[in-house]
């Protein structure tokens, strides 16, 4: 039973996601009718499942929610922003109820009751007797001179269709459609030539010929729809009941602006005042012309552990392949073309398999981004700032583990942007910005990494204030000489919170330092970019996977170690004139005017000291833009390495993030440059703080 229960909740997650997605589509005034159906089905399925497990609260709520959706579905209710906002809140509440049912926790009954009352108010206002009249709406809306229904005795349906070029090209014949329609009942067919252009303007790819079919008798819309089942994406279609004399069904959204039917009055008037700011997805985010979602292929559910095992084995394969090629090299066979070709194809295959498995683990960031809409909505409500969220590049794929671990940092960053980034509506007005703030969440692949950006169009970072706070809290010494970007970095210091009063929203004792730590744990880094008066952008750069890493193989006191290439800025063989001793132990590298502290990695790892003079310096930069030069004995290769956990069988080693296996089967440790640099600057920071307290 528990197993089924768990399965139900997994399904709920998917349904809720589809629900939230659909509701966002409904924000668009001329949304596709199918969207409402999909939303309705999602709620209905949750209700059905919940009933099977006797989750009463969930069932009650879902039922009421479903009733409201049914009203919308059957065109008995309009969808102005207030209703959409209510639907969003209901969807959030449903999600909460599912969550509490899953954890067998008590739901927030007061909240649920409040929403139920709102839903009921709408539902009961709707008089089921007068239901066929589409313009009867339960909330007071200014419809202007909406046409009054002219009831007629005649019963039937009017179908207006204008086939697209697609329909003709795919070999469909309008005649067959018309014939099928005639079978439904007593039909009169009328040809519309009004839209057909003059011959000199005629274009093959823009057919304008349309037909109006009036079918009398008890014909259901569903029957008509089924005729068009296979062509409804390549045909402009409107279906209305004769007795209404108005097209009710929304047209299928078309790229072509020419419509042969008057726009449905339901979509034209807007509610006079929108109390809740609508969170509207930008039209630009939707590819023009694309009406339907990409078809869902057949899928199977596979446990993550199985995929991980496969991934491990492929890691092994890559290592074995490297070992084999080394053996062949030593055996002197590497000149034989057969061996080389065979080895090459194995290498190719191994690479392909690795990529395929990584693709299995890869998931679109959409899964995280979608959840951010709700976070934003709540943040906007809590602060009273009207905000809209624009998401770009939702389809960008990253490793599944990363998807899960991105939720918290992104949530915090969105809240932070709403709370601290955006000005309030009044200030925005004064500065000549639109009252509604915009937060853009974007993702893209950039040179082997995934870049995620959270940007707001707020006032930018108030640097003097940030500096003052940092000084007040003793994070920096008063009067220290900091560049603007160094001041921005202060936001990431533990114990820094820029709002004077702790706000309910982002001031939960969790600062941006936590965000940074979480991102770093994923092998990524966070950067800030802020322009005064224009806004702030936080960018996160993440590796594509947690399983492999591009590394520089270095020699260190007889050991081979790996340095992640992402941290490396440059490598150089220093001149004596570039090195400057400071005190007894420290050395600085003077490189193009910068003074960079030198860290002897042999010393850091307690290895046999390398000779001070020789060796190579690798300049690395940390996420906090702090630089250091690592002294190593030599660099000998650069390659992809498979990441192996060290903590599983041993534990954490300071300055080491993980291990990998080299071509010869030996283990090499992967250096964590961030931690090494940070340990240096922490001492430095403490030193500065000590100086501050003394002065």
């Amino acid at each position: 039973m528990d197993e089924f229960r768990e399965m139900f909740f997994v399904e709920c997650d998917e349904l809720l996601e589809g629900l939230a997605n659909g509701l966002r589509k409904m924000e668009d005034p001329d949304f596709d009718k199918e969207t409402v159906h999909a939303v309705f089905r999602a709620v209905h399925s949750i209700k059905g499942g919940a009933a099977a497990f006797a989750l009463t609260t969930l069932v009650t709520f879902a039922h009421r929610f479903e009733t409201l959706l049914d009203l919308i579905r059957s065109d008995r209710m309009d969808t102005p922003p207030q209703i959409i906002a209510l639907l969003h809140r209901s969807s959030d509440c449903l999600s909460d109820l599912v969550m509490s049912a899953r954890q067998s926790a008590e739901p927030d009954q007061a909240h649920v009751d409040g929403l139920l009352a709102e839903l009921d108010a709408l539902i009961e206002d709707d008089d089921p007797v007068a239901d066929t009249s589409f313009e009867f709406t339960p909330i007071v809306l200014d419809f202007g001179d909406a046409p009054t229904p002219a009831p007629t005795a005649e019963e039937g349906i009017i179908v207006r269709m204008t086939p697209n070029f697609e329909l003709y090209r795919s070999g469909n014949d309008p005649l067959a459609l018309l014939a099928a329609l005639r079978k439904l009942g007593d039909a009169t067919v009328e040809l519309n030539v009004d839209a057909v252009p003059r011959l000199e303007d005629w274009a093959l790819e823009r057919p304008q010929l349309g037909w109006t079919v009036r079918i009398s008798g008890a014909v259901s819309e569903l029957d008509v729809r089924s005729v068009f089942e296979f062509v409804d994406d390549c045909c402009r279609l409107s279906i209305s009941r004769i007795e209404e004399e108005q097209p009710v069904m929304a047209q299928l959204p078309m790229a072509d602006p020419v419509m042969d039917t008057p726009p449905s009055p339901t979509s034209a008037p807007q509610a006079p005042v929108a109390e809740v700011p609508p969170v509207v997805a930008p039209p630009a985010a939707r590819p023009s012309g694309a009406v339907t979602e990409p078809a869902q292929g057949a899928t199977i559910r596979v446990g993550l552990d199985r995929v991980d095992r496969l991934m491990n084995m492929i890691g092994e394969l890559v290592i074995k392949e490297a070992m084999l090629s080394q053996v062949i090299q030593t055996a002197g066979l590497h000149e034989s073309p057969d061996v080389v070709a065979g080895l090459d194809s194995i290498r190719q295959l191994a690479g392909d398999i690795q990529e395929s498995v990584m693709a299995i683990r890869a998931q679109p960031l959409k899964l995280v981004f979608q959840r951010m809409h709700r976070i934003l909505r709540e943040a906007a409500d809590a602060t009273g700032k009207p905000v809209r969220l624009v998401t770009i590049g939702e389809q960008t794929e990253v490793d599944k583990t990363m998807i899960e671990r991105l939720v918290d940092p992104l949530t915090h960053m969105i809240r932070n942007s709403v709370d601290h980034g955006l000005e309030d509506a009044l200030t925005r007005q004064r500065r000549g910005k639109p009252q509604e703030g915009t937060i853009t969440l974007s993702a893209a692949h950039r040179s082997g990494r995934v870049q995620i950006e959270v940007s707001d169009d707020g006032g930018g970072i108030n640097r003097p204030k940030v500096r003052q706070i940092a000084e007040d809290k003793g994070l920096i010494a008063p009067g220290s000489n900091l560049t603007p970007s160094e001041i921005d970095q202060l936001l990431f210091l533990p114990g820094f919170s820029s709002k004077d009063e702790v706000s309910a929203l982002s001031g939960r004792g969790v600062g941006l330092d936590v965000v940074r730590r979480e991102i770093m744990a994923l092998g990524g880094r966070v950067m800030i970019d802020s322009v005064e008066g224009k806004g702030t952008t936080f960018s996160i750069a993440l590796p594509l996977t947690l399983a492999v890493l591009e590394g520089m193989l270095i020699q260190l006191g007889g050991q081979t170690m790996v340095l992640p290439i992402t941290a490396v800025q440059e490598t150089l063989q220093p001149d004596r004139s570039m090195l400057h001793g400071v005190g007894k132990d420290s050395q600085l590298l003077a490189n193009r005017g910068d003074l960079i502290p030198i860290i002897d990695l042999c010393q850091t790892f307690g290895l046999d000291e390398a000779e001070k003079e020789g060796g190579v310096l690798i300049v690395v930069e940390s996420d906090s833009r702090k630089r250091a030069a690592f002294r190593v004995d030599g660099i000998f290769d650069q390659r992809q390495v498979v990441i192996k956990s060290l903590e599983q069988n041993y534990g954490r080693v300071p300055g080491v993030s993980a291990a990998t296996i080299l071509g010869d089967g030996k283990i090499a440790l992967i250096i964590d440059p961030e931690e090494i640099i940070l340990s240096l600057s922490n001492d430095h920071g403490r030193h500065m703080a000590a100086m501050a307290s003394n002065g």
Binding site: K644, Q648, A659, I661, L669
Partner: protein, 156 residues
């Protein structure tokens, strides 16, 4: 004579016996995954002296503990003839470096005696019992849990 290898009957247990600095030791066979020859390790920075480093065991990173150093005999200089006993304890895999594996024996649990008061530390911490064999040799039974390096902090 000693009994042949048998499945664990009541009151009996199988052990892997090995030699270390001319003394006989043993650990419970249930803990042992495999025995392999010595391969050079990769050192771990800031690790305690008795941790020889890590080796690659079919794709897993396995820590190798120098039993000789751990038991106070002094650090071993491993050669081709040394063996690494791969053991598993509490979900962690560890390699134990020993001079050689001598036997797999079935012992009566009644025959395991407590450890007499001896001065020699640290060996006493890790030995949980003594077994006298019929040929007069004495097996020292080792407690794996005590031997293993502390996951974090031992290096601090």
């Amino acid at each position: 004579m000693l009994q042949a290898i048998s499945s664990n009957a009541i009151g009996q247990s199988d052990v892997v016996a090995f030699k270390l600095a001319d003394q006989d030791f043993c650990i419970d066979i249930g803990l042992v995954r495999e025995i392999r020859g010595w391969t050079p390790t990769t050192m771990l920075p800031h690790a305690p002296g008795y941790v020889k480093g890590v080796i690659n065991l079919r794709g897993s990173v396995v820590t190798v503990v120098d039993l000789s150093a751990r038991l106070g005999f002094g650090s071993a200089t491993p050669s081709q003839r040394h063996v690494v006993i791969i053991a598993m304890h509490a979900g962690r895999v560890v390699g134990l470096l020993a001079d050689l594996v001598s036997d797999i024996l079935t012992i009566d649990e009644d025959h395991i005696q407590g450890v007499p008061d001896i001065a020699s530390n640290p060996a006493r911490e890790f030995i949980t019992g003594m077994i006298t064999l019929e040929d007069g040799r004495i097996l020292r039974k080792i407690d794996l849990a005590q031997l293993l390096p502390v996951p974090h902090g031992a290096d601090a």
